[in-house]
Symmetry: C2
Subunit: 520 residues, 2 copies
C-alpha cells in the first residue's frame, strides 16, 4: 500500500484531563442532583440552564483585546463566514459568570430578587492532575438583587438542609461562616486600608490562607519582610511592622483556635472554650471579633451582619454545630464582598497513606455585589453557594451511604435455543412489567459459560435458564447469582448438595420467583 | 477620560445560536430525561456520560491533517505548553461518535454486548435558524457488539414504551421500520450494485429522500439525466434508464402509498389496503418488497430481518400501528447498514400559519456496523436510537400534557415589618417542612404593591401577610392569588363583597390553610 494512503487509525482516548463516567457513577450523581434541585426548588429557587458556550466578552475574566484570551478557559474564534466572524467564544468556567450575564440580559423580565439554581458541567483549561479534571460538575444556588442578610442566612440554612437530604447526617458537617468585611476591618485597623494598600492586603490574605501549611512562623515571616522556603526561594512579604502583625495574629489566633476545635485537637465542642459553652460559641467569637475591629466601621458592620445570620439560624433551630462562625474562612475568590461560607464534612476518612483525615470542604460561597455591574453599570447585590457535587459523592461513597441496590445489574434471561428468542424476549418483558430490571443475552449464545460470565460482569442478581426440555415441561430454571457466589465462597457440604441457588419453577411462576429472590 | 482607558461594557448576550432555559423549561426536560433513563435502565441499559470535549481525531468525521478541521464542529487547539500542545480538541456533535471511542478504548472491561444509554448536550457549528440551535440535547440508547436482529427489535419496542411513559398515548405515535439492505437490494436489482456505482446510489438515495418536496416527476428527473429547478440551476441526475427508474418507482410507490396512509390521505388504517386489513399490513408490505428484491441476496436478507423484527413485535403484543414497516424511511446518515427506524408523532398541531400539520419525527436510529472499526480494525456490530428530547417536549406542551402544578411558583411570605424577618423566615420554613414550596420576599419591602407584583411574576399560588397587628393578635392573613385573579377577572357582586380570596386564620393554622388552598 502506498504510504500516504489510508490514514493511521485514530487513538481511542479521551483528551488529557477528561474522563468517562459509567453506570452507577452517572445515576448516583443524577440522583443527587435531583435531590439537591428538590431542596432548592422548595426554597423558591427557579432552575436556569445556560449553554456551555459563552462569548469571552460576557465571561469577562479576560481582556477582549488580547490575541488569544484563553488563559484558563477553552476558547476559539467564530469561523470566517459566520455572522460574528472572529468573535471569541469559550466554554463556561463556572456557573456564576453566566448568571451575571443572564441577569443583566433579562433583568426586565426576571423577578427581583431572582433566586435561581443551576447545575451542570464547567470547563477549565488547566493542567490536569490526580483527581483533578478539566470538566467537572457544579451545582449552584444564588439570590440576585437583594442586599438583605436574610438572603445569606437562607443560603446557609438551605445548605444544611441540602447536606442532610443527600445523606450527610447532622453532626457530620458544619457550615462555617465569616465575613469579608470583618477581615477588611482587621486590616484597616492594622493600617492596611485604602486603595494604595491593595497589594499588601492581597499578600496578607494569601498568607492567612496558608496558615495550615506554613504554620504561624511562616505566616509571620510573610506578614513581615518575607520568607525563604526549603528550596531557597524567597517570597516577598507584606512588610508589616511588629504591632500590625500582632494585631493580625490576634485575628489569626482566633481562627486557629476554631480550626483546632474543628480538627478535633481541642476535642469536644461541648466543652467550654474561651470560657463559654458551645451554646454561646457564635456570640462569644463575634464579641471577640467585634473588639478587634471596634475602630473600623466596615469591620463592625461585618460583625453585625454575622450576628444577624447567627440570630436567624438560632431562631430556625439550627445549632452552632451546624452553622458556626469561623474567622479562618477566607475563600480564595477576589469578588466576595460580605458574608462568606464553607461547608465542611467533619468525619474522617483514610487518606492515600491510610492515615485518618478530615474529609474537608464540599461547598462554598458568599456575597458578591459587583458581577452584574460590568454589564449594566449598576451595582446588583447577590449571594450564593456552589456545591462540589463530585466531592460530595466521594464522601457518601467513602461512608458507604450510596451504592447497593441501585447499582445492581439486570436479571439476565439466557439463551439456550436461538429459535426461542421470542420466548426469551417475552420473559424479560414480563419481568420488566413487574418492575424488575431485565434483559435477554444478545451475544453469541453458543458458549453458555460466556453467558454466565456476562451476567457476572453486569453484576446481575439472577439468571433465567430455559432450554428445549424446560419449554416442553413448561418450566424455567432461576439461578440466584448472589447466593450462588456466596455458596461458591463458603458453602457447607449440605448447601452444596442442596444447591439452593438454582430452582426450577413453573413458567407461570417466573416473575414471582425472581422477585422473591431479589427481595431476600 | 483617556479613550484607551476603561474598556467599554461587555454585551450581555448569548453567542449567536445559543439560548438560556428558565424554570419549567429546565425541570420538565429533567423530568423527561429521568423518565426515559428509567425505561432504558429497566431494559438493562447502563448509563454512560462522556465529557463534552473529545479529540478531533477520535470524533473522526474530520481529517486530522487539515489545518482547521472544524467544519460543522466547534474546535480549537491545545495551548502551547500543554502536554499535547497543538492537538485539536472539539465539542462532541452527537453521542454516537463518543460511544464508538469509549467502546474501542474500554472494550476489555465492558460487557459484550454493551447496552448503554447517554443523555446530554451536543454542539453543532452550524448557521442557526428559527428553532435551530447550536447546542441541543440528545438522548440515546445503543447496543454494541451484537449482530442479533433481536437487538434492533428491542430498540423499537423500547422506543414505544418510552414514548408512552413520557406521555404520548398509543395511537399518537408510530415507530416506522425499514432496512438499508432492502434499499441496497432494490438498487442492486436495478443494476446499481458494486463499488463503482456508489456515486449513483448516493444520488438515488438523496432523490428518494426529496420525494415529499419534489414529487414523483422531480424524483424521476433526478433518477434520469437531471433536473432544472425554478431558479434555473441544474442538478445532475443518476443517469438511469427507463427500466431502472421504473423498478425504483415500484419501490418508491410502495413508500408513497405508506406515506399517504400515514399522512391521512388514505385515511383509515383499519381499512383494507393492498387488499389486506391493517392486521396483515406489515407482512403484506414485506411480501411486496420481497418480490421486488427477489434477485438480490442482500435485499432478501433485509426483508427477512424485517420479518424477524415484525415477528418479535407481534409476539410481544405491539400492534402494527405501533411498529410499522415503511419503505419510505431512508434516514440521512451514511453509516447505517441494516434496520433503520424513526418514531413519528401522528397527531396534528397547527403550524405557524395555523394550518393543521402532522407533528412528525421525534426519534430515529438504526444499525451501524463500522463505527468502532476506525479505531480497532475489527468490525463491531451496533444498533441504537436517538430521541430528540426538545422536540418531544414541544409535542407534549402542544398537547397540554406537561406544565401545570409543577410549573407553579412558591408561596410568598410577604414582609410588612422588617424587624420581624426571623418570624417570616420561620413561616416559610414551616410551609417547606410540610412540603409546600415557599419563600420570604427579600426585596425592598417598603412598597407592598411591589411584593404582590413579585408574587404575580413568580406565578405564586398564595401570599402570607402579617404586620404588627396580626402578630399582636396571633393571626396571619392568607391570600389565594389564583382565586384572587379569577375574581378580579369575573366576580359577581357577592363574591366581591365576601372577598373569599383572603382569609384571616390563627398563626397555628397557617400551614393547614395554605395546603387546603393549594389543593382546591
Amino acid at each position: 500500500m502506498a504510504k500516504d494512503k489510508g490514514p493511521r487509525r485514530p487513538r481511542a482516548e479521551t483528551p488529557k484531563g477528561f474522563r468517562d463516567y459509567f453506570g452507577a457513577e452517572v445515576t448516583e450523581r443524577a440522583a443527587m442532583l435531583s435531590t439537591i434541585a428538590g431542596v432548592y426548588h422548595r426554597y423558591g429557587f427557579d432552575a436556569l440552564e445556560t449553554s456551555g458556550v459563552e462569548t469571552v466578552e460576557a465571561l469577562g475574566k479576560f481582556l477582549p483585546d488580547v490575541d488569544r484570551p484563553n488563559e484558563g478557559v477553552f476558547a476559539w474564534q467564530e469561523d470566517e463566514g459566520a455572522e460574528k466572524a472572529g468573535d471569541w467564544l469559550a466554554l463556561r468556567y463556572d456557573l456564576t459568570a453566566p448568571l451575571a450575564r443572564v441577569f443583566a440580559q433579562h433583568r426586565n423580565d426576571l423577578p427581583t430578587p431572582y433566586r435561581r439554581y443551576a447545575m451542570g458541567p464547567v470547563w477549565r483549561n488547566e493542567k490536569p492532575g490526580p483527581g483533578r479534571f478539566r470538566q467537572f460538575y457544579q451545582c449552584d444556588a444564588d439570590t440576585v438583587g437583594t442586599a438583605s442578610v436574610a438572603a445569606d442566612a437562607e443560603i446557609c440554612m438551605m445548605l444544611c438542609d441540602t447536606l442532610e437530604e443527600v445523606g450527610i447526617p447532622r453532626g457530620d458537617y458544619v457550615v462555617k461562616v465569616n465575613n469579608r468585611k470583618v477581615l477588611n476591618g482587621v486590616m484597616e485597623v492594622a493600617g492596611l486600608g485604602g486603595e494604595d494598600r491593595a497589594n499588601e492586603r492581597g499578600i496578607v490574605l494569601r498568607a492567612i490562607d496558608k496558615l495550615d501549611r506554613l504554620g504561624p512562623k511562616g505566616v509571620r515571616a510573610l506578614l513581615g519582610e518575607g520568607r525563604t522556603d526549603e528550596s531557597g526561594d524567597f517570597t516577598k512579604g507584606a512588610g508589616l511592622g511588629d504591632e500590625q502583625a500582632d494585631l493580625l495574629f490576634r485575628f489569626i489566633d482566633a481562627s486557629d483556635d476554631v480550626r483546632r476545635l474543628n480538627t478535633g485537637e481541642v476535642i469536644n465542642r461541648d466543652q467550654p472554650i474561651y470560657g463559654a459553652s458551645i451554646l454561646d460559641w457564635n456570640r462569644k467569637i463575634l464579641e471577640s471579633l467585634g473588639r478587634l475591629v471596634a475602630d473600623s466601621k466596615e469591620g463592625t458592620a461585618g460583625v453585625s451582619e454575622l450576628l444577624e445570620i447567627v440570630g436567624y439560624a438560632e431562631n430556625q433551630g439550627y445549632s452552632e454545630k451546624q452553622i458556626s462562625v469561623d474567622p479562618s474562612v477566607v475563600r480564595g475568590l477576589g469578588y466576595y464582598t460580605g458574608p462568606v461560607f464553607e461547608a465542611e464534612l467533619t468525619f474522617e476518612i483514610a487518606d492515600e497513606k491510610g492515615r485518618p483525615q478530615r474529609f474537608g470542604s464540599v461547598a462554598g460561597g458568599g456575597r458578591y455585589d459587583d458581577l452584574v455591574k460590568r454589564f449594566t453599570g449598576q451595582e446588583v447585590p447577590a449571594t450564593g453557594v456552589s456545591i462540589g457535587v463530585d466531592r460530595l459523592l466521594a464522601a457518601l461513597r467513602a461512608k458507604g451511604r450510596i451504592g447497593g441496590a441501585a447499582a445492581r445489574g439486570p436479571v439476565i434471561v439466557t439463551v439456550m435455543d436461538r429459535e426461542r428468542m421470542a420466548d426469551y424476549l417475552a420473559m424479560a418483558a414480563e419481568l420488566r412489567s413487574a418492575g424488575v430490571r431485565a434483559e435477554v443475552y444478545l451475544g453469541n449464545p453458543k458458549n453458555f459459560g460466556n453467558q454466565l460470565k456476562y451476567a457476572d460482569r453486569r453484576g446481575s442478581p439472577a439468571a433465567v435458564i430455559a432450554g428445549s426440555q424446560e419449554f416442553e415441561r413448561g418450566v424455567v430454571q432461576v439461578k440466584d447469582l448472589v447466593l450462588g457466589a456466596r455458596i461458591a465462597a463458603d458453602a457447607s457440604l449440605e448447601e452444596w448438595k442442596e444447591n439452593p441457588s438454582q430452582v426450577e419453577v413453573p413458567r407461570g411462576d417466573l416473575v414471582a420467583t425472581v422477585r422473591a429472590m431479589l427481595d431476600r
